[in-house]
Symmetry: C4
Subunit: 281 residues, 4 copies
């Protein structure tokens, strides 16, 4: 959908997933370090399954929106008079959502069944991002300079994300890769908004001059600032999660220690009683 | 062979190998998980040798077909009047088949001899795919837009396959890489058919308009749909193999357990007999 | 800052850091080999924190210099009449420094706190170099041939450095990667000077003929010579550090051995005394 | 040196090193498998040092040849009237040889001293190949089509070799990588000859038509055939080395077994003698 809303929708989804991932992976990492795996793993598996289901839901909504908006193709691929392809742009976006849906299915299967090999969820998400970048790449040929440029920058985030997820297939549970990936998702989300603002200013107006080289230069730099923002958000979430889990851990530890003391005292008492008995004998 | 049959032949081969690989690697993975390696490995080695021989056979047939079809070069490389290169297209295809043949030889040697290092088969297949992509790359310069585009998409499958196999040289027995590679083989196979349908419609007719940009856009998307199909086929085969091997494993396990019970009972009986004897004494 | 000083400043910084890294990593490597880790690690952590702080300081100075030189934008981004982007070049350089500053912050946090995962410092430095290369890449479009060429060569050092640091995230404490990275930093530093000399000769004069192909050929070769120099400097530092640490190690070992001898003699004496006693008994 | 000899010299060197590497790495691999490391390692280190010295010698000869052939620059870099760069082509080739010389020095140091980290020799050779490719890359701009194409194919061998050696820095003693690298060296060597034959036919004549597209197509395919040849040579050497080392190993084993039998008999005899003695007592 070539309007502001059409960029805000995927942008919001990427931001939400980026935020969620930065929280989830921080939580996983901190609980891994405190070795409460027995309990934590099952909880996290449930979270992953919910995440996968959410992805499927978002993908289905996205597909339906692309197909059945008033200007959409309504599932018609080839037609009209003279016969030609119908609304290929919407079909391409539908295809992108489809791959994210498949990635969601892979998430659900990986974490709910033991026969699916670990890492499949990462591979399918990597493929989904690759397909997104792949379709965008052949999408933007022949557009004006600024339009091409903002989409090229979008491609950097998708291909970097795909590459990073591909490495995660082999290097699982690497916190740095996981947070890097979360930061790229945030970057992509905020950049979708930026693209919307540049090409289709929501307050109307004529959009930016697409052939002004200084606009291109500014946008390039602006992309870097978006990434600074993404780094700060991920770092902030990491620290917040650390403090929260540390508190919970400290209190649960205290409880354990108390329990330990009580046990020790009981043992002491019972040993003392035994000694008394043996003395009496 | 610039006709529909010339694309259907390699297409069919890639589809058959893709199907076979998705089955073989699933079988290997499930039997690895159930640790029946002692028995399984020898069987699988035999399968690999048969696969290698099949590859050699396909390659030889392909080479002969390219050379001795009526329009082929009949092993003549340079000639005519004025002297010039003879049917370079057929020679290039012959070269491609040659490398797949070498890969087949490497398969046979790797699994039949202990002096060939493991991973050589993967490297040679990776080189064969790289050579295929390499020759196609310099093959398509100067063709019309749509022709170039469908071949560029073919290149993506060959180079992705080559890269994935190269990683397999170092990361052996990784089920995700193996199935990924099978899915790429299927994709390449179905895409060969698609290229045939686009450039040389088998029901005659004029072929597609090669300079219509919307055809390029549709074909790009179509490529993604082919991959969705490939993913579904691989996933289906994986699940089918799982159910089949699980049944076999369960029944063999049952047999073992029964055998175990009989043994236990026999031991019990003999021990009881011994006790009786010692009592009687 | 498009003058000689604007290239000499980052050049000097890269040279200083390259020299320092070649010394630091050599020291770390040699002390790792002699297994004095207990003591050394804390010292090295302190060094890393100082290094990080120095990076932050350099970045802040660089940012202030780019903003507040007389020809700078003085923190104004958009203005003038007609309204347009202000001094985007300086803003881009400011952005580059900003990322190196973030990398410095990551250094300090990684080595001063235990909650930050190891490798984050490498990733942030890799991102800083990537951003530097990324901004330069879109910076040089449309410039004369020689100008483009010297900047392209600069890009090789930044992207190679970024890639090498990215590998270091996963392969920590690999001396070869660490020294390679130091040599690339030296190369980048001396190359910044070279760029300054080519485009803005400090002794005035007209600069080089930017459209002479033989200048391009010479510059390409000159780049290789710069790298020979960088290799020699790194190798020299490595050997110097080896001799220095070996001497210190040898003397400390001697002291240990002496101590050992004294102990042995004391034990001998006491044993002799015991023997005497037992004899007298 | 833009003539047939100037391509035959490096070609011969690459072929000799490729042959030698295929033999050396096969020997290393087979002796590693038979675990005679104690003895073998010192021998191999000596071989590596000799190889490094040979590389240095070749590099020095190459540099001197490029500088002091009659048409060479005789160490003059900038001069003439009007002042201009002197014989940059020869200077570039000198630079290439210089890096191979540095790689030779790294070989000698790595295997003769224990303070140089293992893998440095691989990195320096990788850099030497990268520099070769890098200089060739900027060397061929603006030449006729066929000339560019044969050099582009040369670049593939150099960059593939550089990449493969870079992986070897981290994955040492991987026989597949080592033989792959040997095959690329052979390919590069034979390809240098091919380039010489195409551009400067040694029997005089006008050279090939550089703008005929079918020549480009043939050359592309010819490159693949060169690689088939390289694979065959490497495989042949591997098998030859295997048979040779197996024989030596078998005979040495036989000797050991014989020795063992003699020892056993002696022990038997002595035990028998002892028994006799004790009987007699």
């Amino acid at each position: 959908m070539a309007n502001f809303q059409g960029h805000a929708l995927p942008g919001s989804l990427f931001i939400i997933f980026g935020l969620w991932w930065s929280v989830k992976y921080s939580m996983k990492y901190h609980s891994r370090r405190w070795k409460k795996n027995g309990h934590g793993n099952r909880q996290f598996n449930l979270l992953e399954i919910i995440e996968g289901s959410a992805k499927i839901a978002c993908a289905v909504i996205g597909m339906l929106a692309e197909q059945f908006v008033p200007s959409g193709p309504h599932l018609q691929l080839y037609g009209g008079n003279p016969r030609t392809w119908v609304k290929l742009m919407n079909w391409q976006h539908t295809t992108m959502y489809l791959f994210f849906g498949i990635s969601g299915v892979a998430d659900v299967l990986t974490y709910s069944s033991s026969i699916v090999p670990r890492g499949l969820d990462r591979l399918m998400l990597s493929i989904a991002l690759f397909i997104e970048g792949f379709l965008f790449y052949f999408h933007i040929v022949g557009r004006p300079m600024l339009d091409q440029h903002v989409h090229t920058l979008l491609l950097i985030t998708t291909f970097a994300g795909a590459a990073s997820l591909l490495v995660e297939v082999f290097l699982q549970e690497n916190i740095i890769l996981e947070l890097f990936c979360a930061s790229l998702s945030l970057l992509q989300g905020t950049w979708f908004y930026q693209v919307g603002f540049v090409l289709f200013p929501p307050w109307g107006g004529p959009g930016w001059d697409e052939n002004d080289h200084s606009n291109v230069m500014f946008i390039t730099m602006c992309f870097c600032w978006h990434y600074v923002l993404a780094i700060c958000i991920v770092a902030g979430n990491y620290v917040l999660v650390y403090h929260f889990t540390q508190k919970r851990w400290a209190s649960s530890r205290e409880a354990e220690i108390k329990l330990g003391f009580r046990k020790q005292r009981q043992e002491k008492d019972s040993r003392a009683a035994l000694l008394k008995e043996s003395d009496e004998e």
